[in-house]
Assembly symmetry: C2
Homo-oligomer: 317 residues x 2
């Protein structure tokens, strides 16, 4: 089975933090790490490695600005599960990044829009030279034109990046779209490992992830109980259960859902919610839907749909 | 696009009734019918055509024992959306069934386990001779052995049944399973239209349905907001939105979700809930999970998993 080469990267804290403004206790994150480790999950993305100096509104707690000393307190006994952090272009101070040999982190992932590819590859070079595994996550692929992507592939192929992600930022892609994208990435980047980061606006995150895995994509992003911005991500528990002939064990994930995610889901929301479905269907950023969900009109779906579809018309004129 | 030959059959009332014991008001069902009609949905399954004489516990209201005079009150002005009803083996009195020319119903669907195939095909013959479109829905396909299925295909091929359904009763099948099943059904039943009825235990109902549609399956079962037993079904709103180059219009579905389904979902539960995910993953009937959800232990997932997996071992001994 091709899927046996897969690695699960759990991004509950990093992507889920977009839901609750990274309001996770140390106990929560520690519990999650040891649960993922017991379940055999390969990587845990524990937050962002951005610099508070470079990001305004820097009140979102330690998971947005990971500090090595703090990380050692959170996870005193690191297990098999590797740690990764995400960095955003223009928000990372390279002087903050230790050599991997001195760091708790194993992998640094660089997220960028395609216009910032050069800056992203500069960061990749830096992190690679300091010994980290690296990945490049080009966001909003469904809004990138073919010739831009082909041009980008040339630069990426010549970079030392280990993993290149296919990111469905808006949750708008189906199995046919992924089929085309995976083939295209494989054709132009034959020496790179591929990854997938899906969103669940149309309940396709898990199915797109396993379809991509069957085609040879190896890094599978997921989050426990699907926690992630707006509609959330592919569910870690589904992947761990599905990839059943491997080292994965679902029981520790069930326990942490029961202990941590069910109480949390009562306080903050994510998942299959109609306005997020609508933004996915329309291939749009979920920010307008997120604003709706924070308003008194949160369940006025038809009105919201009218607004988005008439706005679409006017922006095309 | 192959998908343009598809027909959506909405089974919110019939399958959703398994959630709330068919406690739908006439206003609810009428509103749903006119909404589906406005959305261009092809069929609405409005309940069961079982006989109260043949079914104990016959207190589940009119939608389980559809009566023609009552149906005319519910839907005084029938639109383009056809009406279907499901019958169960041994629970239908043939004398209750008018000729189609006198009936509000257009299609009668026969659900059976494979052991009752002969009885099911007898019913199909009767309904067909009275002018109805018919379908055969063999349940629990994931528990049927290959040689039983091949034998069944021979009988089905010789029957007048119009549509043969691939039913994933336990929500345990993935895109690879469906790929094999669709090919097998197409090979052995080249003259039959195929249908799919999926369950959402592993968040695969919609993706399996569109994957099957891309392979030529034409009758697509769905329910509004996914309402159906346990994890529920493929969501009508997702299908109507996805099959966008056709006659479908999502807005009336969004309105009825807002008006009817959101308040209902606050009172009764269905959808992606961990015990249903576990029963789907283990390819088991959801009844044990449903009992758990009605108990004080409803969120004890790990304990439930232990119970199901150790029971599996002991029943195999």
């Amino acid at each position: 089975m091709k899927e046996n080469n897969c690695k699960i990267l759990d991004c509950t804290i990093r992507d889920g933090g977009l839901v609750n403004n990274w309001d996770f206790s140390v106990e929560f994150v520690r519990d999650l790490y040891y649960s993922l480790d017991a379940a055999g999950v390969d990587y845990m993305e524990i937050g962002y490695k951005n610099s508070p100096k470079l990001l305004k509104g820097a009140d979102a707690g330690p998971w947005r600005f990971l500090d090595e000393a703090f990380l050692r307190e959170v996870i005193p006994n690191k297990g098999q599960t590797k740690l990764s952090a995400l960095v955003d272009i223009g928000r990372v101070d390279e002087n903050d990044i230790l050599d991997r040999s001195e760091s708790m982190l194993d992998m640094i992932r660089v997220a960028c829009y395609i216009k910032d590819l050069d800056k992203a590859l500069d960061l990749v070079n830096t992190f690679n030279s300091r010994g980290y595994e690296t990945s490049l996550n080009i966001m909003a692929l469904s809004h990138v034109m073919e010739h831009e992507l082909i041009e980008a592939f040339r630069e990426i192929a010549n970079s030392p990046v280990d993993v290149v992600y296919i990111v469905d930022s808006y949750g708008s892609l189906d199995h046919i779209d992924y089929g085309h994208l995976v083939e295209k990435f494989q054709k132009h980047l034959p020496n790179k490992v591929l990854g997938i980061h899906a969103h669940n606006n149309m309940q396709l995150a898990f199915s797109n992830t396993i379809t991509a895995a069957a085609k040879g994509v190896q890094f599978l992003d997921a989050s426990v109980y699907g926690m992630g911005r707006a509609a959330g991500n592919c569910n870690t528990e589904l992947l761990v259960g599905y990839l059943k002939h491997t080292r994965y064990e679902i029981r520790p994930i069930l326990e942490v859902i029961e202990r941590r995610m069910i109480p949390l889901r009562e306080k903050v929301e994510w998942g299959y919610i109609i306005p997020y479905m609508i933004s996915g269907m329309l291939n749009e950023h979920p920010r307008v839907a997120m604003a709706l969900r924070n308003s008194a009109d949160k369940d006025k779906y038809a009105e919201f749909y009218d607004k988005l579809t008439s706005a679409e018309v006017s922006t095309q004129e």
